[in-house]
């Protein structure tokens, strides 16, 4: 039996490096966060402020459990805290909690349809917001407004299509991910 040439074999195997599924999405999320922090009003309304790194916290553990992803999520969370002026470690804790929930539940939700994933994403985001809410209440001495909380939670779950796109783009994108 004739063996395929090494060059052709390497071309057939699709490899996805960490810079493609970790670094570039992280940079894109940070850039979008910078954009949405612009202090302008469009037709009398300010821009929404979703917690965009929630997309990464949901998609990364579903794509592949990784050593790098939690540390990258920590760095992204710290950058968001620095940029928004939060207490350092606030959003890293919330994002990593969401990551942990998805990582533990990965065997149950991998391969589910989009509606189920959206419901799970909403629940995971709620867990992260709840943790951040508790920490803020403890450090500030009073709880933040639940209405204001809802108006950040809503755009956060509305960016689910970005998380879904990321999962579909990289899930099974590399043989080693299986």
């Amino acid at each position: 039996m004739r063996r395929p040439a090494p060059a052709r074999r390497s071309a057939a195997v699709k490899l996805v490096g960490p810079q493609q599924w970790i670094l570039l999405p992280a940079l894109a999320v940070l850039a979008a966060t910078l954009l949405l922090a612009t202090p302008i009003k469009v037709f009398g309304l300010t821009l929404p402020e979703p917690v965009l790194p929630m997309v990464l916290a949901f998609a990364w553990p579903l794509i592949r459990p990784s050593l790098l992803a939690p540390l990258a999520l920590l760095v992204v969370g710290v950058m968001v805290d620095l940029f928004w002026g939060n207490r350092l470690g606030l959003w890293p804790l919330g994002l990593l909690s969401a990551y942990a929930v998805v990582l533990i539940s990965r065997p149950f939700i991998a391969g589910q349809d989009t509606r189920f994933l959206f419901a799970w994403y909403s629940g995971v985001a709620a867990v992260a917001f709840f943790i951040v809410y508790l920490v803020t209440s403890a450090t500030a001495g009073q709880p933040p407004s639940l209405i204001a909380l809802f108006f950040q939670y809503l755009p956060t779950i509305l960016v689910f299509p970005a998380a879904n796109w990321l999962i579909e783009r990289f899930d099974d994108g590399d043989l080693r991910f299986r």
């Binding site: 850039a31 910078l34 202090p39 620095l82 940029f83 990965r106 933040p144």
Partner: protein, 365 residues
């Protein structure tokens, strides 16, 4: 024996377990950061990585935000085009109202200046302002803050109040050489002592991450009514008294809240008041001076004034002496007349006693 030849050659840690280990380490680091973070407001003078990050993030944010700013300008253009007529009508009505207000203000200002001069009041001096542009804004429930493009190099310090053309926006919570962070009055950690203009009642305005901060600790049963104007009280020396903040309104949760004046204006330009406490307003020499400085004695007179005063006093004394002399002469003349009348009367009485008494029962011719 190398690892490749050892019995552990085929030992592999499952990927899930290694990811879990990394996750635990990352969470521990996040908790450590959370517990160890101290803001500049907590520790004044504390310069941190946060300052460096903000100094670097501001220009990058400006570049990223350029297309969004263009979008905002385009929407403003569309707004102006479609709403110019109604805006013009509203402004005419407002102008008619404000003309009467202006006349009243001019009269009251004049009267107030007279009272201040009369009472020798020490009024607060003008506070210098620095205009700044907002570079970015956090609008979430957990932090409401802005980055502005002025810093320590322009004299901005932690604690300086920040206003726009309509009212109070917040105060400086951190500053670096060229960038500062403004903690908005709506932030969950913001507390501002306020007064209600109608009743002069005091209260605390606390942000909760929503657009309308709460009013707490208001004294009196009828201290607040809907529509009452809210001003900064200046209590505690954090900011000057009388900065306009907003009007009182009932929230949907039944608590008193403030509709902020600062929401009416553009959100990209603000002014920083270079005022950090009442200590900067107080001047040692002024404090050491006696109270009611306006009632001090006059300065000593010049020689010319002294001469005029002496001349006037001499004239007054001479006039008084002349009057006294005339009165004394009048009195002596009156006394001499009285004595002469008394002597004449006694002489007539003496003649009458020497003559014989008339006969009784006889006839007269």
């Amino acid at each position: 024996m190398s690892l490749r030849e050892s019995p552990f050659e085929n030992l592999r840690v499952p990927l899930g377990w290694s990811a879990g280990g990394a996750l635990v380490v990352a969470i521990a680091l996040a908790v450590f950061l959370l517990l160890s973070d101290r803001s500049e407001a907590d520790e004044p003078g504390h310069s941190s990585a946060r300052d460096t990050f903000e100094a670097g993030a501001a220009p990058i944010s400006g570049i990223f935000a350029a297309p969004v700013r263009w979008l905002g300008q385009a929407s403003d253009y569309v707004d102006d085009y479609f709403f110019a007529v109604s805006e013009n009508r509203r402004l005419r009505e407002e102008l008619a109202d404000l003309r009467a207000e202006r006349d009243a203000v001019v009269a009251l200002r004049n009267l107030n200046q007279q009272y201040e001069a009369l009472l020798g009041l020490r009024v607060e001096p003008d506070v210098p302002l620095v205009t700044a542009r907002s570079v970015s804004e956090a609008r979430g429930p957990f932090r409401r803050a802005r980055l502005i493009d002025v810093g320590r190099s322009r004299g901005v310090e932690v604690g300086n109040p920040v206003i726009n053309e309509h009212g109070l926006v917040g105060r400086i919570a951190g500053t670096s050489g060229s960038v500062s962070r403004v903690l908005l009055v709506t932030d969950v950690t913001s507390q501002v002592p306020i007064l209600i203009d109608r009743t002069d009642a005091r209260a605390i305005m606390r942000g909760d991450g929503s657009g309308n901060p709460r009013l707490e600790f208001a004294r009196g049963s009828d201290a607040i009514q809907a529509g009452d104007r809210i001003l900064s009280s200046g209590d505690g020396g954090l900011m000057p008294r009388g900065l306009p903040i907003g009007v009182a309104a009932r929230g949907i949760d039944g608590t008193w809240r403030v509709k902020l004046f600062s929401d009416r204006g553009a959100i990209d330009f603000v002014r920083v008041m270079l005022f950090d406490s009442f200590a900067q307003l107080a001047q040692g020499a002024a404090l050491d001076s006696p109270p009611l400085a306006g009632l001090n004695t006059a300065p000593p007179p010049t020689p010319e004034v002294s001469a005029r005063i002496n001349d006037a006093q001499g004239r007054r004394r001479a006039e008084e002496e002349r009057r006294a002399e005339a009165e004394r002469a009048d009195r002596e003349r009156a006394a001499a007349d009285a004595r002469a009348r008394a002597a004449e009367a006694s002489a007539r009485q003496g003649q009458a006693t020497d003559a014989p008494p008339p006969a009784t029962g006889g006839t007269t011719e």
